[in-house]
Symmetry: C2
Subunit: 261 residues, 2 copies
């Protein structure tokens, strides 16, 4: 059962939109999916209309339980909310922003999420993790816990700037903490063929990443940005929109490749 | 001499684009401006074609010198590169991403930037600080060092989500570290009148922020995203573009309001 992180420290490139719709389509395809929101902003949490309620356990409590070597309660499954058939979400909360301060010097702080994931991974067919726009402790935890990452990239100039930093961090985590880690997919998002810059950046990204760039382009599509306001994924609310079609294609591509291995 | 931070933990909302073009227009208006890049991604640094060279001092060395109570060398002025008449930029470097780990437990870690700014503020008419998409130590440093903040906001659903978290952090910094701190301007960016969501979010933002929302809307304009590839601000390269016009209007609005006070 694959554990995939959606990672890119550049802000606003479509990490949450990708994580949410990818997970939702996987569940529609009959897989049992866990979506973990590891971003203190909690956008994946609100994409399913889940309020970051104090009363329920969130990812912060799960990681704290791992850090304090308690009996591992609450686990990720305890904290997960079922949001659709075959799809559960572990909500984020604002406390996560304080993780670095709270657990920043604890032993093994980089692998708390991995410990929590390893305890529950047999219960799911796919685990997807949304991450914050930074390369701090939370993102390192995501890289340590995952088998592979999906890198959403906007076709903008700054996207190229950030890739070198991201790959350097991936290499370090791979060397020191998680030898299995690989970049499974680079996905071009908010793709707009009318924009000259899109073409230029696309050519550079294709040259740089060779075969890992998905053949699917996620178009700029207003339905994708409208859906969070309704608390449901776009692939559910606007299934025939261009954005939803693209995410279904992406999942199809991924499942075909996994079947081949 | 005002010190303004450009802050919003939501990623990709136009913080760097606003900081860079705002600073460039201020300098064109004859002010002596310092732009500080406090984001480890270094997008404001590359917007002026500055490579994050190891050889030159960057913000990380300045903050480390403050932390280690050295003679304050290098200062912000030592690290600054003159990029246009009346405009200097203090570059960011990748090391900044390690600031929380490196200085995270040092005494006074939240006010290193303020100490560095206070030493040089008399040399400039305006200081503008670009910040990363997070509410961690770097952004707290920015909030502690500034008199006021500009909050760029995209008219998207997630923009509303993040505002409450941002204002909570501003309140805490104001109460504990920087009583002068205020939200000077909220600026709506990538504004697209054809998009229904834009109107909805705009109404909510106007209701929430009342008078602090700028009357200027920064339109979605491809010239703004093309300029970084050329290493110069859009207001210099494409002065008659809609994006550049809007940033000139924004500076005009700010200067008129300052003159009134
Ligand atoms: N293909 C798309 N077309 C149109 N809008 C999109 C698309 N993908 C994402 N968006 C919108 O763009 C904004 C940024 O996307 P999103 O929040 O998913 O990015 P992110 O990388 O998760 O951001 P952050 O770095 O803040 O976590 C959101 O308002 C989202 O609704
Ligand atoms: N008004 C605009 N019209 C079109 N494109 C824009 C506009 N403002 C910014 N952009 C582009 O959108 C992307 C995001 O903007 P920018 O990098 O300035 O945001 P940011 O908030 O600084 O991001 P981060 O959170 O990663 O620091 C960039 O590629 C930029 O060139
Ligand atoms: Mg996100
Ligand atoms: Mg930026």
């Amino acid at each position: 059962m694959p554990v995939w992180g959606v990672v890119n420290q550049k802000g606003g490139v479509g990490k949450t939109t990708t994580a949410v719709n990818f997970a939702a389509v996987m569940a529609k395809e009959g897989r049992k999916v866990l979506l973990i929101d590891a971003d203190p902003q909690g956008n994946a949490t609100t994409s399913f209309g889940l309020l970051r309620q104090r009363s329920r356990a969130s990812l912060f409590e799960v990681l704290t339980a791992v850090a304090e070597a308690e009996n591992g309660v609450p686990s990720l499954t305890d904290a997960a909310c079922v949001v659709a058939p075959g799809l559960s979400v572990v909500p984020a909360s604002m406390d996560l922003a304080g993780l670095e301060a709270a657990l920043g010097t604890a032993v093994g702080r980089e692998t708390f999420l991995r410990e929590a994931v390893d305890r529950v991974r047999d219960e799911f067919d796919w685990i997807v993790v949304d991450s914050p726009p930074s390369l701090g402790l939370l993102t390192v935890n995501v890289l340590a816990a995952c088998d592979a990452i999906v890198v959403p990239m906007q076709c903008e100039y700054f996207a190229l700037e950030g890739v070198a930093q991201l790959l350097r961090t991936v290499e370090i985590v791979k060397r020191r903490i998680n030898p299995n880690l690989r970049v499974a997919k680079v996905v071009l998002t908010m793709y707009d063929t009318r924009n000259r810059l899109t073409q230029q950046v696309e050519d550079e990204v294709l040259g740089f990443f060779q075969g890992t760039v998905s053949g699917v382009r996620i178009p700029r599509n207003v339905r994708l940005s409208e859906a969070p306001g309704h608390g449901r994924p776009a692939v559910e609310l606007f299934p025939s929109s261009k954005g939803s079609e693209a995410y279904r294609e992406l999942v199809k591509e991924v499942l075909e490749e996994c079947a081949v291995h």
